[in-house]
């Protein structure tokens, strides 16, 4: 008797389940998918944001380094330094009158 009662209950549930329209399941599935896709996109977006930010940091560091090199070049090329090297290391001196030849004249 008990066995019969269980069977009848299960049949009843199956019948009720069959009554749930398929479109609700589709909608539910759609929202679930949307949730996962949206979450995935946000995560990916944040990750890309970090990557871009890191790339920007690298660019900024490189730019800063480039600027430092330019300034170092300016400092190394300052007339005072060049003149000192020319005089002390290379033994050069300013040409006297008549020692300059203007070749484009």
């Amino acid at each position: 008797m008990v066995w019969n009662a269980d069977r009848i209950r299960k049949n009843g549930v199956k019948q009720e389940i069959k009554k749930i329209p398929g479109r609700w399941l589709v909608i539910l599935l759609f929202f679930l998918c949307e949730l996962f896709i949206y979450t995935g996109m946000r995560v990916e977006c944040t990750r890309k944001g970090f990557q871009i930010s890191q790339a920007e940091q690298v660019r900024k560091r490189s730019e800063s380094y480039r600027k430092e090199l330019i300034i170092e070049r300016e400092r190394l090329g300052s007339p005072e330094r060049i003149a000192t090297i020319a005089r002390t290391r290379l033994g050069l001196y300013m040409p006297k009158q008549g020692q300059v030849v203007y070749i484009d004249q």
């Binding site: 549930v13 930010s53 600027k67 430092e68 300016e74 400092r75 300052s78 007339p79 009158q97």
Partner: protein, 579 residues
């Protein structure tokens, strides 16, 4: 029984359905509340969670010479601060930090013990200091990005460029005068951040739009160096107080060099006295002495009072004007106007002004720009001193004629001499060629600007001829002669007012030499002023060699060939005390 079971099951199903319906209804209602009713408030809350505002200070622009060499720029640096709440041993840490940063450990200990969440320690620290501080591994030390104003050429044009203060605000020179152009904008930017507060800022380039503009000067770094070197030599050799030199293109008014000695390093401005920071070429007036005679002669000729061959009796070296007696260095009798300039006769010049009258003298000097500012645009420019002729006594008129009893700036003198070189046309002096936007595009270009004609072309040529004779062996300035070039110039030796303000000091002089070359088509004007030279005080001895050095090297550098044939070359070496 079956019916009862069915009824029971149906009832339970209905209960479950109602339950789920209510749950879904509640969820739906909440969704409507979130999405529609409270959407704007919640959106605002969300924005505050993942965005933040940061203060942005745009970088200060650069100062460049005419060949785009950097004279002043901004570089990245670090500042160090502390969070005293996190500092565990303030006394020990203060000693360690202070020894690296070379600051007072007692004051630092007070800072580290104040219990505040944040306290600044030192701005703009060097990379070595950063490395050493990080090696201490002190919890609570904070390193922040900062910027530093840097002048790669150190003392070169230091007083002209000026410097900035701690808040990147111009305090002197061009940094001060053009602060509005150079200064970066300050603003607040909204940036994205994550849950831990890290900035997600892919739009850093946005910051660049707040950077300041740049200045392109007319200065040439190499001519500036040539001028400063020559000036240093002369000031050192004659143990003078100071020196000034200016190099200008007479045809355009462009200033190629503005040199001062003693030098000033804007990278370490706090190490220098306030007086050495000033651009004295523009700010300080001085009595120019005999250089003014060329302006007197030019005006007299231009107004038809005399010609280069007009003769004046020079009273054999002593001439009484009012109660005073005026002397010449050499006793001379009759001299032509040309010879008065060549030998720099005070008496001859007084005789010229007696012919023209004091109003004509005043008109001549104001016509050449003396007594008013040149309009260069630098802060603190002096107009010099030139009182109205109504207040001149007879001796005042005589003294002003040979450059005493009035004062001018070195810049005014360069502009006036350049007018003679430029066929009588005064050009507005130019120091800033153009301003650039932070994108590098030209914002404003400053073209050479004619101010007025002060004398005719013919008169200017006659004056140039006279000034050429000054540099001959018989003139007062043979030390300024350059082989191969027709150099025109005028010496000046002025007594300085006594320190107590009563009359002139006996042993204090200003030595001046102003001139240009070549004679026919002058390319460069040079003015050299040496203040209080000791071993000798004559302009032709002290200032002329520096003038020659600056002019000769600049002509070579600019590839301006000699204009004289070998047989025309005038060169002379003299140690004679002439003025």
């Amino acid at each position: 029984m079956t019916q009862e079971i069915k009824k029971g099951i149906r009832a339970r199903i209905i209960v479950v359905e109602v339950f789920f319906f209510l749950v879904i209804l509640l969820l739906g209602a909440k969704a409507v509340e979130i999405q529609i009713i409270e959407s704007s408030d919640l959106a605002k809350k969300a924005i505050t969670e993942y965005t933040g505002t940061v203060r942005i200070q745009g970088k200060r622009g650069e100062i460049l010479d005419r060949n785009m060499n950097r004279l002043g720029t901004t570089i990245a640096a670090l500042s160090v601060a502390a969070s005293p709440r996190k500092i565990q041993n303030p006394a020990k840490d203060a000693r360690a930090i202070a020894s690296i940063l070379e600051i007072d450990p007692v004051k630092l200990k007070q800072k580290l013990s104040n219990g505040k969440p944040f306290t600044p320690i030192k701005r703009k620290i060097t990379p070595d200091e950063v490395r050493d501080l990080k090696a201490l591994n002190i919890k609570g030390l904070i390193f922040q990005n900062d910027v530093i104003r840097f002048y790669p050429n150190r003392t070169l044009a230091g007083q002209v460029i000026g410097f900035t203060g701690s808040e990147a605000k111009g305090l002197e020179g061009l940094e001060y005068g053009y602060d509005s152009v150079l200064q970066g904008q300050q603003t607040r930017l909204t940036i994205t951040k994550d849950a831990t507060g890290r900035h997600l800022d892919p739009d850093k380039r946005l910051k660049e739009q707040f950077n300041g503009g740049s200045l392109v000067l007319t200065l040439d770094r190499n001519i500036q160096y040539i001028s400063e070197t020559a000036l240093k030599d002369v000031v050192t050799r004659y143990k003078a107080q100071s020196g000034m030199a200016i190099v200008m293109r007479p045809k355009t008014g462009e200033i190629l060099a503005m040199a001062l000695y003693p030098e000033f390093n804007p990278n370490a401005f706090s190490d220098f006295a306030r007086d050495s920071m000033r651009n004295r070429v523009v700010t300080d007036p001085f009595e120019p002495g005999s250089v003014m005679k060329v302006f007197v002669a030019a005006s007299a000729m231009d107004k038809g009072y005399c010609t280069p061959k007009s003769i004046f009796f020079c009273e054999n070296g002593a001439y009484k004007v009012g109660s005073k007696v005026i002397h010449d260095t050499h006793d001379r009798g009759w001299l032509t106007l040309g010879q008065i300039i060549k030998y720099s006769s005070n008496i001859g010049t007084v005789k010229i002004t007696e012919t023209t009258g004091k109003q004509a003298l005043y008109d001549a000097l104001t016509g050449f720009g003396f007594g008013k500012r040149t309009g260069l645009g630098l802060p603190g420019e002096t107009p010099g001193t030139l009182t109205s002729p109504g207040r001149w006594s007879t001796i005042d008129t005589a003294a002003i004629a040979f450059g005493q009893g009035m004062s001018v700036s070195a810049l005014q003198l360069a502009v006036g001499i350049s007018a003679i070189a430029n066929d009588g046309v005064i050009m507005r002096p130019l120091l800033v060629k153009k301003t650039l936007l932070n994108t590098g595009e030209t914002d404003q270009a400053f073209e050479p600007q004619v101010q007025r004609r002060v004398i005719s072309k013919q008169t200017a040529r006659k004056v140039r001829r006279m000034m050429r004779s000054v540099v001959s062996e018989e003139g007062t300035g043979p030390n300024a002669a350059i082989q191969g070039y027709s150099v025109c110039g005028k010496t000046g030796t002025a007594q300085k007012v006594a320190k107590n303000g009563k009359g002139y000091a006996k042993n204090l002089y200003t030595a001046v030499f102003a001139g240009f070359a070549p004679e026919v088509s002058p390319e460069l004007t040079v003015v050299v002023v040496v203040d209080e030279p000791r071993k000798n005080h004559y302009g032709g001895v002290v200032a002329a060699p520096a003038f020659k050095s600056i002019l000769a090297e600049s002509l070579h550098y600019l590839n301006i060939p000699p204009d004289l044939e070998p047989e025309q070359i005038v060169a002379g070496i003299s140690d004679g005390a002439k003025s």
